[in-house]
């Protein structure tokens, strides 16, 4: 479903010169699977995900989503993807329903099909009470739900989560984790970045450890533990990254 081959992204920075944010990275992710990008801040996770979501262009290498090339058919690729980041905002002057409807429409849905779809999602996420409330009046947990609803309103086959739990309280973070699990059960292809070991351990079918733009290791959590010869995943991570 997602196939990334020899992907590199170089930024030109005035102070630091050329920065290899992503350095020759390859991986694939299939439907019904969760692929995790695990790494510290500045490792290149967000850049990789932005290239998949077509908001950034790769310097070299190729990315295909459902057989579509991100550079040649960016619009069609975006239509396949639900994109959620940890610090996404909402239009504060619009109601929850209006926000969800807007993104449904931008994804090519008509008003007739959006109505029932919102009812359905609102039931799952328990957000019927505040559909008509302006986003500025919603709590952060409620806003998170609206964000989730906006991401999946068009039922995309691919989900991209960029540190979705960052800055959330325990309960809100938990509901996000449950939501990712739910997407997996629906057979979606999920790519997910985090710097939290527990989340990766719990959710991911396959993990890539990324640091300074490079993949240091790639495989199931158990396989990575074995490679490192550690019981705890965190210990394994530190060993693999090699910064002890």
């Amino acid at each position: 479903m997602i196939s990334v081959k020899n992907l590199s992204k170089i930024f030109k920075d005035r102070k630091r010169g050329e920065v290899r944010a992503v350095d020759n990275v390859s991986f694939t992710c299939d439907p019904g699977k969760i692929f995790g990008l695990l790494g510290p801040n500045g490792a290149g996770k967000t850049t990789t995900l932005r290239i998949i979501a077509t908001t950034m262009k790769p310097t070299s290498g190729s990315v295909e989503v459902d057989g579509l090339d991100v550079q040649k058919q960016p619009s069609q690729v975006r239509a396949k993807i639900g994109f959620l980041t940890g610090n996404t905002g909402l239009y504060q002057r619009l109601t929850a329903r209006e926000v969800i409807t807007y993104f449904g429409q931008l994804n090519g849905m008509d008003r007739k099909s959006i109505g029932p779809r919102i009812t359905e999602i609102a039931k799952w996420l328990d957000m019927e009470d505040f559909l008509g409330t302006k986003c500025s009046k919603l709590s952060s947990g409620m806003q998170q739900k609206v964000n989730i609803a906006r991401t999946i309103v068009h039922d995309p086959p691919v989900m991209v989560f960029d540190e979705p739990t960052v800055g959330l309280d325990i309960l809100a973070a938990r509901s996000i984790v449950e939501f990712i699990q739910f997407c997996k059960n629906q057979g979606k292809c999920i790519i997910f970045s985090t710097h939290i070991m527990r989340e990766a351990e719990r959710l991911c079918d396959e993990v890539a450890i990324i640091h300074k733009g490079k993949f240091f290791a790639q495989g199931t959590v158990d396989a990575l533990k074995q490679v490192a010869g550690e019981q705890e995943f965190e210990e394994a991570f530190v060993k693999i990254v090699g910064e002890e």
């Binding site: 979501a53 993807i81 994109f83 996404t88 905002g89 239009y91 619009l94 429409q105 931008l106 906006r150």
Partner: protein, 431 residues
């Protein structure tokens, strides 16, 4: 480019704006309430202070009064004369002049000694005890009677003080009326008809209609106002629609939707253009009411017709639309380039000056439309609007068309550039 997507973006942005109290206040309340109220207050104040000066008596002292008894008697209204101030146009609406007599508003004191120094006179005027001083040379009366040449009357006044300036004007007028009387009496003494020194008189007849006079005056001011208000009205929503989205952290999500950049940009463009056009039209309505209220309105109606026909309005609005698109392009590009709302606002000051200067073309005398100027952005709209508002739009149809088309082309380029800026990851993800 899918028109449906553009429509979706358009509708959302309209909804966002009409729920934004600040934007609504800026677009509707300012032009419809603040502008007319301000214009009314300013014009009323100007009229009343002008009136205050006109109705106030000027206090004037004479140095060497004993040497000019005849002149003094004349100035003291012992001999009043009907007199109309010459050379004042009807259009000079702020001038209210006494018509009762030249000297009616001059109170003459003659208690200054002949030895009065300039410094002494100055301090008397500064301390408001006097408005002006007339300095009569010694033996003025006798020299006048013996037809001496080179006689000189000096008026000491302060050009920087309204009341002193007024006293100076009044004195000059009175003195020239007195001079005419002297000439008249000399001619009579020589048994000549007084008319001999005025073989003919001239009379100008203004053939301009009230409509044309209004066009002439408003044709200078309005293009500038229209362009500025269009820009002002477009500014706020444009900042909101890109820098605002960055700050709200909705931009990345919006860009991750399948809508193409050009569709997003076009949807936003149309809304920005509309807010610009609406706010300039509303400002004009506001200014119209501000000017037609009260005494100032009554005075304006005496000399001009405050009405505009439909074809003028249509031609003006049709020209403002592509200009508003150009503004939308510049503003939205800057807005998406800026990191934050605040940064975007920071760019607006210098940009406003860049717009004001060419918009000023309509004010400049002697700047006439030609093919080259019809291609210069903003300047062309300013000059063509001037003609259109003066009711001469159909006479410059070729320039109108050229201005319209060239502005439209620039608007197209602006949309394209802006869409490119929305693809520029350095601008979008700038931190």
């Amino acid at each position: 480019m899918n028109p449906r997507t553009i429509w979706i973006v358009f509708r959302k942005e309209v909804l966002d704006i009409i729920r934004d109290r600040r934007a609504v206040a800026f677009m509707i309340i300012m032009p419809l309430v603040l502008i007319p109220a301000l214009m009314y207050l300013i014009s009323t104040f100007a009229l009343s202070s002008e009136k205050g000066i006109a109705e106030r008596e000027s206090t004037v002292a004479v140095v060497g009064a004993e040497d000019a008894p005849g002149l003094l008697a004349y100035l003291r209204n012992e001999e009043r004369q009907r007199f109309n101030p010459p050379g004042e146009s009807e259009l000079d609406i702020f001038v209210i002049e006494d018509q009762s007599g030249v000297n009616a508003f001059i109170e003459v004191l003659d208690n200054l000694p002949a030895s009065a120094e300039a410094g002494e006179i100055r301090s008397l005027i500064d301390s408001k005890q006097l408005d002006a001083v007339l300095v009569v040379p010694p033996d003025f009366q006798s020299q006048l009677e013996s037809h001496d040449e080179g006689l000189n009357l000096r008026i000491d006044f302060l050009s920087t003080s309204d009341r002193s300036e007024k006293a100076y004007q009044r004195l000059r007028r009175s003195l020239s009326a007195y001079r005419e009387r002297v000439v008249e009496s000399r001619l009579t003494a020589a048994s000549l008809n007084a008319k001999i020194i005025e073989p003919f008189e001239t009379a100008g007849q203004d053939m301009a209609t009230g409509q044309e006079r209004a066009g002439e005056i408003f044709g200078r001011i309005l293009p500038y106002m229209i362009i500025l208000m269009t820009f002002n009205g477009a500014m706020f929503p444009a900042i909101n629609m890109a820098a605002g989205e960055k700050e709200q952290k909705t931009l990345e999500t919006l860009l991750a939707s399948p809508a193409s950049r050009i569709e997003l940009v076009t949807g936003k463009f149309v809304v920005i253009m509309l807010t610009g056009v609406i706010s300039s039209v509303l400002s004009l309505v506001g200014m119209y009411y501000g000017l037609s209220m009260g005494e100032i309105g009554a005075r304006l109606r005496q000399v001009m017709t405050l009405s505009i026909d439909t074809s003028t309005i249509v031609m003006a609005v049709l020209l403002v639309v592509p200009l508003a698109f150009v503004f939308a392009g510049v503003l939205l590009t800057i807005s998406v380039f800026a990191r934050s709302y605040r940064e975007a606002q920071g760019y607006m000051g210098p940009l406003t000056i860049l717009i004001i200067l060419p918009a000023f073309a309509s004010f400049l005398p002697g700047v006439e439309l030609n093919y080259t100027l019809s291609m210069v952005p903003v300047v062309n709209v300013s000059l063509v609007l001037k003609k259109v508002l003066a009711g001469q739009g159909f006479e410059v149809m070729h320039y109108y068309a050229l201005t319209f088309v060239s502005t439209l082309v620039i608007a197209g380029i602006a949309i394209w550039l802006c869409a490119r800026m929305f693809k520029n990851e350095n601008a979008i993800f700038k931190v």
